[in-house]
């Protein structure tokens, strides 16, 4: 053993200390490519910006930056994915392939063994090795979160050539794929419960207590001596064998007269006025004495009296102490948190479910989404200021979420159209387009002659007036059989389906599957000619079907997977991808295996604009400061375009072609 004297020991200790200091300041970590590139690429990903709306408002002179960019280079509709769902569309953009190549076909896939829905984008597994001591279960290895998207992301290819890239909140990248580039995950990132976002709402108004609301939990509380005591539920405690839900005690003190309350939880307290949002609050769900899960949430004191109403946002992953992987390198999220404080990490940040369930009203929802937008704009300024080489991709979600929720107020034919609300909030969508115009103005100012500026959206938008119950249509046309017809509409997840007499079923938003023998647990349709004939028959009948109320065809086109997809994952694709017509979309019941009685119903929800239709109905947008040579560019054409700009060899798996 080497002898180390006291002086050497002190020197080594100091060196180790310095390394610690450097690591904590982030200076010792090589986080991304270092090459100075002669060309730079700046991409604005504006989710859901619609070609028709953009064109109309550009013509009216409301979007000067878009107009300027279109006149410099080009402006074309951008062909979206089949189906035009965000995870699929962004995966096309990320990989340059179609779903046959990247394996993401829908928001929801299904497990054919159990006829059960599964998230398409990521899979979480618990620790495989554990040791049990009484009621305690101690993991000996870590659990895993796997990004299910296949294929190499374009920033991973750039990394191979040492070209730096910062990719901010791109959807369909949770958990972020392994890279040294700066990336932070966007849509698809769960809340701390592992869901797409569960809010909590505490009220004394019993009529608001609904047994089943998606995306939220409503708690009945009582005000006793001007005090409310409640619990905020957290993640399931997997350290205990009975897996109880973790929770945090909340106390709310209300003034006897003034509309104001103090909220006290863990070691913090804050006062809110009625109608006021709190800042981010950091909370810790204690699992065992040495382990806790850290999250952040916002409080909104909706009403003090006559009824007490308190909304708590879904608990987001704390970017400063992320319990799940949300960025690469890990320190990138921490760096942003240090500069900007806690920020929204949940994939779809604004709480559309709270608006849909009337927990938040239109104004309150917009206040929340304004917080999201303001936060994003601050971070955009920061990233734009330090962008000097390689690629910067920046993503905006508010465009998508506001169009989903406020389309009803620009569409007089929509069943949820309300003239009074339209007067107040009818310009919400136009306003968010104007906000993106301001973002573009900043990007244009930054883009020098060596910067290729690309503005794109993954899809456009269309009204969602009528809901198509695809499983009901299958049942009415003899392709789906129920065990007990009297129970129709009451059971989820095909609990009332007689699989031995069912030929087809639908899970997800655009996916239709044949109950194939050998693939599905109780499949009855043989692979080969029998299945192919059935697929073509169903596709044809779907396209021929007409809405008895309007006379229109709800399904514009039913795509057969093997005709439209290429790549190694075509075999696991849905058999038919249903492309809905303008104004139509799959119902809320069908994606999770419920079979209502009516084939088509009015959509009376606030979620009133959509894009899960036929790709031709909802093209995205493409604007650049270079002349576009492609006649009809598609999302997956942008990937090889980026690689070509940097002079990088385009991998043969990429299906797209450069646009200039």
């Amino acid at each position: 053993m080497n002898h180390i004297d006291r002086r050497e020991f002190i020197k080594l200790s100091l060196a180790a200390g310095s390394l610690l200091a450097l690591e904590s300041s982030g200076l010792a970590i090589k986080s991304f490519g270092n090459r100075e590139t002669p060309q730079k690429v700046l991409i604005l990903g504006l989710d859901g910006i619609d070609h028709r709306l953009l064109q109309a408002w550009m013509k009216e002179g409301k979007l000067p930056s878009f107009q300027k960019l279109a006149s410099q280079g080009g402006f074309l509709p951008l062909r979206t994915s089949i189906p035009p769902q965000s995870p699929v569309a962004w995966s096309n953009f990320i990989t340059g392939m179609n779903p046959g190549g990247h394996g993401i076909f829908d928001f929801v896939h299904r497990d054919p063994e159990r006829y059960f829905p599964v998230f398409s984008a990521s899979e979480t597994t618990e620790a495989k090795k554990t040791v049990r001591i009484g009621n305690l279960i101690l993991p000996l290895s870590g659990g895993e979160v796997i990004n299910m998207r296949k294929g190499k992301a374009f920033w991973q290819i750039l990394e191979d050539y040492d070209i730096p890239a910062t990719v901010f909140k791109i959807p369909a990248n949770y958990p972020p794929v392994a890279t040294k580039q700066r990336t932070i995950s966007g849509m698809g990132t769960p809340d701390i419960l592992g869901s797409y976002g569960i809010f909590n709402y505490y009220t004394t108004e019993t009529k608001e207590l609904k047994a089943d609301i998606g995306g939220g939990r409503i708690h009945e509380v009582s005000v006793i001596a001007n005090k409310v005591e409640a619990k905020l539920p957290g993640p399931v405690n997997t350290f205990k064998s009975d897996r109880p839900e973790s929770e945090i005690d909340i106390k709310v003190f209300i003034d006897p007269i003034n509309p104001v309350a103090k909220i006290s939880l863990q070691n913090q307290e804050f006062i809110l006025k009625e109608g006021e949002w709190s800042s981010w609050k950091r909370i810790d769900f204690r699992m065992i004495p040495t382990q806790s899960v850290s999250g952040i949430c916002m409080f909104y004191l909706k009403q003090v009296r006559p009824n007490f109403k308190l909304y708590i946002s879904p608990v987001n992953i704390d970017p400063g102490r992320a319990a799940l992987p949300i960025s690469t390198p890990k320190g990138y999220a921490e760096e942003l948190e240090k500069i900007f404080g806690p920020f929204f990490t949940k994939g779809l940040p604004a709480d559309t479910k709270a608006l849909d369930n009337e927990v938040l009203n239109d104004g309150e929802f917009l206040e929340q989404d304004d917080l999201v937008l303001r936060e994003r704009l601050e971070m955009f300024d920061y990233e734009l200021a330090r962008f000097s080489s390689g690629l910067l991709f920046y993503y905006v979600s508010s465009t998508d979420q506001r169009q989903h929720m406020f389309w009803r107020l620009i569409d007089k034919e929509h069943p949820s159209y309300d003239p009074a609300l339209a007067k107040k909030y009818g310009n919400t969508i136009e306003n968010i387009y104007k906000e993106t115009d301001k973002i573009l103005a900043k990007a244009t100012e930054k883009a020098d002659k060596d910067t290729v500026l690309i503005v794109m959206s993954d899809h456009g938008f269309s009204p969602f007036r009528r809901s198509f119950n695809l499983n009901t249509w299958l049942k009415e046309n003899g392709y789906h059989t129920l065990i007990n017809p009297f129970k129709q509409g009451r059971e989820d997840l095909f609990m009332n389906t007689n699989w031995s007499r069912t030929k087809a079923y639908s899970f997800g938003l655009n996916s239709l599957y044949i109950n194939q023998k050998g693939r599905e647990a109780e499949g009855i349709v043989k692979r080969g000619t029998e299945k192919e004939a059935l697929v073509r028959e169903i596709a044809q009948e779907l396209e021929n079907f007409r809405d008895p109320k309007t006379g229109e065809r709800p399904v514009l086109r039913a795509y057969i997977a093997k005709d439209v997809y290429q790549g190694p994952y075509v075999d696991i694709a849905p058999d038919i991808i249903v492309g809905y017509n303008h104004g139509y979309r799959t119902s809320w019941a069908a994606p999770l295996g419920r079979i209502p009685k009516e084939i088509i119903e009015d959509n009376k929800e606030k979620w009133s604009g959509d894009h899960c239709m036929d790709p031709e109905v909802v093209p995205g947008i493409l604007l650049t400061n270079r002349k576009i040579e492609a006649e009809s560019p598609a999302l997956y054409d942008l990937t090889p375009t980026i690689l070509k700009i940097f002079g990088v060899e385009i991998p043969k798996e990429i299906r797209g072609k450069p646009i200039f």
Partner: protein, 261 residues
């Protein structure tokens, strides 16, 4: 001066003071002898480890002399407690809290006498240029408290004025101060013990129905090479650092000052 420099200086002075007190209040010769005895019996324990009876005897002696050592240390420790409490209460003001930053919100809490009717208490918080009153008063009967949410506006040490039963009282609010600044979160009613433990501000008059006035300041972080020293079993980071540094410096200088500890 940054927090670390200040902490090292205070710890150094504390170590010197404690060594000084220890030297002049303890039986130095007695301690020296006791320590030698313990060492001798430890040696005995090692040499005669094969003899059970001698080992037991040595252990008994070690225990006996340890107790004697503790008894010799008790007197200086008792003498040291008083200056230590005074030092700690001061240190808490300098190292316990961060001043507010402009724009930051805090809660002002006024604790009222139990025999008062909270709703009838004649108490008015006056506006100031240094901070903005964000909420109307929030009266919490369970805690006998009136709370306001304040937002810091301007740099400075501002006087927050309350009119209670027609009498003006003030409480200091520190905004955007240097890292090493005196921050007093609590103003207490005139009382010897209260004032000893909370020496940051002049006390409240006894004739008013107010027991305390408190401003919530964020706890001060103390970083070591970028790493935040955590709270341990409810002990704040500054106290951990202070004790560790004082002990280390005490041992470093005990040889020079020829103090037997």
């Amino acid at each position: 001066m940054n927090a670390w420099m200040g902490m090292i200086l205070i710890s150094f002075l504390t170590a010197i003071l404690m060594l000084f007190i220890f030297r002049f209040t303890s039986n130095q010769e007695g301690i020296r002898q006791v320590k030698n005895k313990i060492k001798a019996h430890l040696l005995e324990l090692r040499l005669y480890k094969d003899s059970l009876s001698l080992s037991f005897k040595a252990q008994g002696n070690i225990l006996r002399y340890n107790l004697k050592y503790i008894s010799y240390s008790a007197k200086p420790l008792l003498v040291m407690i008083i200056p230590l409490i005074l030092i700690l209460t001061q240190l808490n003001l300098w190292f316990g809290y961060e001043s507010l930053t402009p724009g930051q919100e805090t809660i002002l809490k006024v604790k009222i006498e139990e025999n008062q009717n909270l709703l009838d208490t004649n108490l008015v918080l006056q506006p100031s240029t240094g901070f903005e009153i964000q909420t109307p008063p929030l009266r919490i009967e369970e805690e006998m408290e009136i709370n306001w949410c304040l937002q810091a506006k301007e740099k400075g040490v501002h006087d927050l004025t309350l009119i209670v039963e027609g009498q003006r009282i003030t409480k200091k609010v520190a905004v955007d101060q240097k890292p090493l600044s005196k921050i007093s979160p609590l103003k207490v009613r005139r009382n010897f013990i209260n004032e000893l433990i909370n020496p940051g501000e002049s006390p409240l008059p006894r004739d008013l129905p107010i027991k305390t006035i408190e401003v919530n300041y964020p706890a001060k972080d103390i970083k070591l090479f970028g790493w935040n020293i955590p709270w341990i079993l409810g002990i704040p980071p500054w106290l951990i650092v202070y004790f560790v540094l004082s002990i280390i410096l005490g041992f470093v200088f005990k040889g020079m000052s020829k103090v037997e500890i």
